[in-house]
């Protein structure tokens, strides 16, 4: 009998607890409308920075590509010509592509970069229905010429929510309908899927 009474008491206590929790503060962040503040060095979408004079920081050295544990980065360097200098150094990245589906956002590319050109921003909303659209090439990675130079992780203010809307904006302005065909890496992936025997001669020149 005493045990039964204890059990009834337990049920009543349980009801009390759930009732109390009904008015407790909820930890929910209602995501699409409210966005959480990120840690200043949150690893999100990559960005290629510029110098103050508008030149690209990337010198096409491929160190990021070598450092990448997921093998997600493709860099194809080219020589700067005196008339048309893209970067202040001898070489620049003619193509710079990151497969964001392969990327594990570890930040090794950022560590490896000798000129602080590639950095990880806190942007994270980059979902898409097309695989091809997630291979980011230079047109989407490079800071637009009119948008400053990009911010190094060390210089970011504490816990910025970043300009989260920009990923979508960038996406809508760039022609990514071509999907795999638009990027060097995409072409490689596609041919690998088809089988190496079908590799076209024209693709090998890169």
């Amino acid at each position: 009998m005493r045990k039964q009474l204890y059990n009834v008491g337990a049920i009543l206590r349980g009801l009390g607890i759930t009732f109390k929790f009904m008015f407790a503060k909820r930890p929910t962040i209602e995501y699409p409308t409210v966005k959480k503040q990120h840690a200043p060095r949150f690893h999100g979408l990559h960005e290629l920075r510029r110098y103050e004079d508008g030149k690209e920081r990337c010198i096409g050295c491929e160190l990021c590509s070598s450092a990448c544990p997921a093998n997600a980065i493709t860099v194809i360097g080219a020589e700067n010509s005196p008339e048309n200098r893209t970067s202040p150094a001898e070489r620049y990245a003619a193509r710079y592509e990151i497969d964001e589906l392969r990327c594990i956002f570890c930040g090794m590319c950022e560590e490896a970069c000798p000129t602080d050109a590639i950095v990880l921003t806190p942007r994270f909303e980059m979902s898409d229905y097309r695989r091809g659209a997630l291979i980011y090439s230079k047109d989407r990675l490079l800071v637009p010429a009119d948008a400053g130079v990009g911010v190094a992780p060390d210089e970011r203010p504490n816990g910025i929510p970043a300009d989260l809307g920009r990923v979508a904006d960038v996406k809508s302005t760039v022609d990514i309908t071509a999907g795999y065909e638009a990027t060097h890496r995409g072409i490689i992936l596609k041919t690998q899927r088809k089988g190496l025997t079908e590799l076209k001669q024209g693709d090998k020149e890169w």
């Binding site: 049920i11 929790f21 909820r26």
Partner: protein, 333 residues
């Protein structure tokens, strides 16, 4: 006045039924939303809040979803009974409202029909509701629904007894089976006082009768996938869903009528100019909240304990309560 009086009875009943059906279905929709909200709050979540302000359009979105979904029938199912079962559930759930009175004025009781054998009719119809579940589970032609429906039948039989016995105590005190008569008998003293044990038994058995947590062995997700409605999808699943909530509403109404004084105002508030139906709605709402509260609090029973509890605890206690009530009433007149 004479124009109203000249309308034939059956037209009046039809109009009343249509209004009541609308009210009950709307109540179901928002009871479901309220349940999800309350469960959310108790689990430190905000609950549905995306469709409309505070999620108020959620029932409409759910209904649209259920209607648009594919209506599957398993190959092994008995097609006729499989398709019929949700309607049996729904029909029995709704038909109870033919006699439930919602209030009273000088013109009479607010109910579609005022049956002499009120409580008996209620018990008869609510027990029929199990047919929808057990036939649906059996006709699905797959094992989990069958187990669910077998459980449901056993559970109904076990808890129906305790429920009926707990109601007989009220009948003895009121001296009538007519529902408005029982409510009027509680004008000074609600039956929850003298029949407190009966009330507790009724609440427990009512939860079991409607297959709700912690007695939802019929649709125990962890053991039976979804129990009797595993194979149902789309609108037919929706009908079972409606039936479950309407049954919840029914037992809440019965509890309010038989134990909590129906549309009588609480003590000391009789002078307050609030219509009786408002008190009735408040009582029913409180009961519905209690259901949700239980669901947020208690884990599911083990099946053998459920049976043991029904037969070895509730039934003897209900019988004892009935005998004591009968003796007290007999000796005090």
């Amino acid at each position: 006045m004479s124009a109203i009086a000249s309308i034939p009875d059956w037209v009046v009943i039809l109009i009343k039924s249509a209004i009541l059906l609308l009210v009950v279905v709307t109540t179901f929709a928002y009871a479901m939303l309220a349940e999800r909200k309350v469960l959310g709050w108790m689990q430190l979540r905000p609950g549905p809040n995306r469709v409309g302000p505070w999620g108020l359009m959620q029932p409409a979105a759910d209904a649209a979803k259920l209607i648009l979904k594919e209506d599957l029938t398993p190959k092994t199912a008995d097609p006729l009974i499989y398709r019929l079962a949700p309607f049996i559930s729904l029909l029995t759930a709704f038909s109870v409202y033919a006699i439930i009175p919602f209030g009273a004025s000088s013109a009479g009781t607010w109910a579609i029909g005022n049956v002499n054998a009120g409580i008996l009719f209620l018990l008869a119809i609510t027990s029929l509701g199990v047919y929808g579940i057990s036939l649906g589970g059996w006709a699905s032609g797959s094992k989990y629904p069958l187990l669910g429906s077998v459980r449901s039948t056993a559970q109904m039989i076990s808890y129906e007894l305790g429920m009926s016995l707990s109601l007989i105590g009220v009948l003895i005190l009121a001296g009538t089976t007519q529902l408005d008569g029982i409510v009027n008998a509680q004008a000074t003293w609600w039956f929850i006082g003298p029949q407190f044990v009966g009330f507790i038994i009724y609440v427990i058995t009512a939860v079991a009768e409607t297959n709700r947590v912690p007695f939802d062995l019929v649709e125990a997700e962890t053991e039976l996938v979804a129990g009797f409605h595993t194979e149902y999808s789309g609108l037919r699943f929706g009908l079972f869903f409606i039936a479950e909530y309407v049954n919840m509403l029914t037992v809440s109404c019965i509890a309010s009528l038989l134990f909590l004084g129906g549309w009588n105002a609480p003590f000391g508030l009789a002078g307050v100019p609030i219509p009786g139906i408002v008190w009735f709605i408040i009582k029913v709402a409180a009961f519905m909240f209690f259901y949700m509260w239980l669901r947020a609090t208690l884990p599911r029973f083990r099946y053998d304990r459920l049976m043991a509890f029904g037969w070895k605890v509730l039934l003897p206690v209900a019988t004892l309560n009935l005998v004591i009530t009968a003796i007290v009433v007999a000796f005090r007149g």
